[in-house]
Symmetry: C2
Subunit: 480 residues, 2 copies
């Protein structure tokens, strides 16, 4: 189906409810659907927004287009959780219902302040001639989840940026308020992170572009700053990054940069790395949003989906994309580690221990967790239905994820992803399968590989030869 601009930007009130119910049923009954990861109730979800802690709960909002698997008129949908695993659907939160966001309530962040949750987002305004003006808008949510938008934009695009100026992260640091924004410089057409500062959340001063160790392509989307044991970490999506800086395989990468220090007043980031590093080594992570919880822990959640990409098996069913699980961030040996949150363990049931068996399961469900410790000095393949993990734990140690045996997904960007491993070392894999989603935590979170795959059935888990390993397999409870 070809979607015209008119269709994509049709008001929600011009769609009929029977169509929406039908789309919800299609999404819900898909065999590719996730049951313990967030997914759209209908239509498309993209960037996670407003990830925060407020009023005794974690909150998360989703960029959402309810009427099809395309990027149409966007709104924010609201979820809440008390354990970062079970999320309650709380319905539409920010609707594109005013002139300043007439073409979509685009991505943003949230910060608890003064008894309210402040939601700061990009109002994607389009003029009659379709010229874009990005307004940075604050909306306030109260304890009853009622949301009130401010009439006036908090930040207007400065003269020196193009129309690409969005994804505000609002946060408090050293008793001041800051907003960092993804931006494209008008003159150089380079990707930048623009820094704003305020003492009262009303008057904002532009501190300028954040100093970065490399030229970051033609645009940076979704910048996030978090602190891990006092160290600043930037998580961001540089579009058009030169692959000689850091290689990547996806259309656009999601990268991180650990800093030694950051001085937001002077927009100075002192990197602890020479160049950014891929946050995820799989196929499908983008627009990760991270925040520091009140106890200081840094959590991240990723859009599993990419701009300019399609997933035909589920697109055909009228819905698109999902989110990763929430990942707890740690810095170890100068690298970012990502871990499942503790409550993920509560989803496990029907534990089976396995040692050296060639066939791990011949009738696995479509939802499972598989944790393996593969001994050093081996080379083989693990088949998760038609998804194949080739590994070598002797010399030239590596792990390759191969999704070429299922339907082609964004084939211009390859069907395999490979990471290097330490030679002659045991390989730890913590694999989460959920419908058409696969997340692999490698060597206790040193790497994560996240991807969609579309097996007709998910029934067989097996090695292609006898292998020395120990492992556990669990069925997984649903969260929605």
């Amino acid at each position: 189906m070809e979607w015209t601009r008119e269709q994509r930007y049709k008001k929600y009130s011009d769609w009929d409810a029977a169509t929406l119910l039908q789309l919800q049923a299609q999404a819900a009954t898909s065999k590719y659907q996730m049951h313990y990861h967030m997914h759209p109730l209908s239509g498309l979800m993209n960037d996670p927004n407003g990830f925060s802690y407020y009023n005794g709960e974690y909150h998360l909002f989703c960029q959402s287009y309810p009427f099809g698997p395309v990027h149409g008129l966007k709104s924010w949908t609201h979820y809440a959780s008390d354990d970062l695993v079970h999320w309650h659907y709380l319905g539409q939160a920010i609707n594109p219902d005013m002139d300043k966001d007439n073409a979509g309530a685009y991505s943003g962040s949230a910060m608890a302040h003064d008894g309210k949750l402040l939601l700061m987002y990009t109002g994607n305004h389009r003029d009659a001639d379709w010229t874009r003006i990005p307004y940075q808008i604050i909306a306030e949510m109260d304890q009853d989840n009622h949301i009130t938008k401010k009439d006036e934009a908090t930040i207007l695009p400065p003269d020196h940026v193009t129309e690409h100026f969005r994804d505000p992260q609002l946060f408090e640091h050293d008793d001041k308020f800051y907003v960092i924004l993804g931006a494209q410089d008008k003159k150089t057409k380079t990707g930048q992170i623009d820094v704003y500062e305020s003492t009262d959340l009303i008057h904002w001063h532009e501190n300028g572009y954040l100093s970065l160790p490399n030229e970051m392509g033609y645009m940076i989307e979704c910048p996030n700053l978090v602190f891990i044991n006092g160290q600043p970490v930037l998580i961001f999506c540089p579009q058009g990054l030169d692959k000689s800086i850091t290689n990547y395989d996806n259309v656009y990468p999601n990268m991180y940069l650990i800093g030694k220090d950051i001085d937001l007043s002077s927009a100075k980031f002192s990197p602890a790395q020479l160049a950014p590093i891929n946050l995820d080594d799989g196929f499908d992570v983008y627009a990760t949003q991270a925040f520091n919880a009140p106890d200081g822990t840094a959590y991240a959640i990723s859009w599993v989906g990419l701009p300019d990409s399609t997933y035909p098996p589920t697109d055909q069913e009228g819905w698109a994309n999902c989110y990763s699980q929430v990942k707890q961030l740690e810095i170890k040996d100068g690298q970012l580690y990502q871990h499942p949150v503790p409550a993920m363990r509560n989803l496990r049931y029907n534990e089976v221990s396995i040692t050296n068996k060639k066939i791990i399961s011949s009738d696995a469900k479509r939802q499972y967790e598989l944790k393996l410790k593969i001994a050093a000095g081996q080379s083989s393949s693990l088949h998760l239905s038609d998804l194949i993990l080739n590994f070598n734990t002797s010399s030239d140690a590596h792990l390759t994820v191969d999704r070429s045996h299922g339907p082609a997904i964004n084939p211009d960007y390859g069907a395999t992803r490979t990471i290097s491993l330490g030679d002659n070392q045991d390989l730890d894999l913590d694999i989460f399968i959920d419908g058409s989603l696969c997340e692999i935590f490698i060597n206790n979170g040193r790497h994560v590989m996240t991807l969609r795959f579309f097996s007709k059935s998910n029934t067989t888990i097996s090695f292609d030869q006898n292998i020395n390993y120990t492992g556990k397999l669990w069925d997984m409870h649903s969260i929605l």
Copy 2:
């Protein structure tokens, strides 16, 4: 808001999607909402339908009106579960989209047969002059959850019933197929259960009204037959039952009758009781649906809501009613016992043990389970916020649930419910609180009292004096 017939029977496609999304948000953000019981995504739910086991999962369908807290144009919404606790929303299943169900796809049942799940329901047809014809229709669901309705009604109303002829339960027994239906006899205007028999599911023979030990008022709704250790048990809703037969407090009761034997070919039920007994001793259970799982276990789930009743606090929020948890049925000492299913224990977390404390919790969440063993020989009150349980475990032993301290709910039918207990015996209570729902399992399922209540806050759990008891309190995970 006054709902006209025209509004209530407006086609789903004539509603707009923005309104539906708004109703979903209102239902989802309610502080009265349930988080571990099934509830409407929007609008109203009533009778549970099609409770069954098929294709490796339990299935349940809900009588559903998505557009408000009223009985409008009904459809079936589909949920599935592998543990009878976690239910996945699978969207709209049977829509009122043909002439024979033009005024609603009303209640019915499901039976796995020949690789399909047969859904048998009452097509509520209305002529232009609003005259009702109830058609009993079979729809087939395949393993991909696709549903196809049969063109022709399977059973037409016989001449001897009024327009009140509905709620077919389809089941297999002794190698034959049967349907039992709630009916009103045209001549006597009495409530009946009409029995049909078939060998091929196409040709049906009416065996006549089931013999019952009492006159069952003017109509029987929602008849169910299950077998518990070989004993037939009828669960049904006799409307207008003479209170001298069995006393009841609600506008309409939900009753059960244990049989010694049943001969469906001759429509003969041999009761083991003189009169029916209230299935639930609370305020708000109706239209319970029960079925025998493949292993023979009998399960039941109830509508928590009643015909001709309103619940103003949530009606004002645009949504109405919920379901009980699934109850496992047992016969002990000639009585029906109802138990939580084992998987309900998996929802518990943050266990706290308590002994003889006057204040059990001063900051309980809105979702919890409280299990108490109150020693014999005492009399006091347990306060669950403004819901009060008065008990006496000495002589004249009884338990009274008093919801008079919150907003009035259907006040014509009283604000207290009382059951008698054995004198001088310990009292076991297993109390499940979920938003505005309370379920109390008494003395290991000998009684169940189910009700809605609307406390402004659910924070305090306390006795009004010092009491000898032991207990445990858990927070409860969400299922949706």
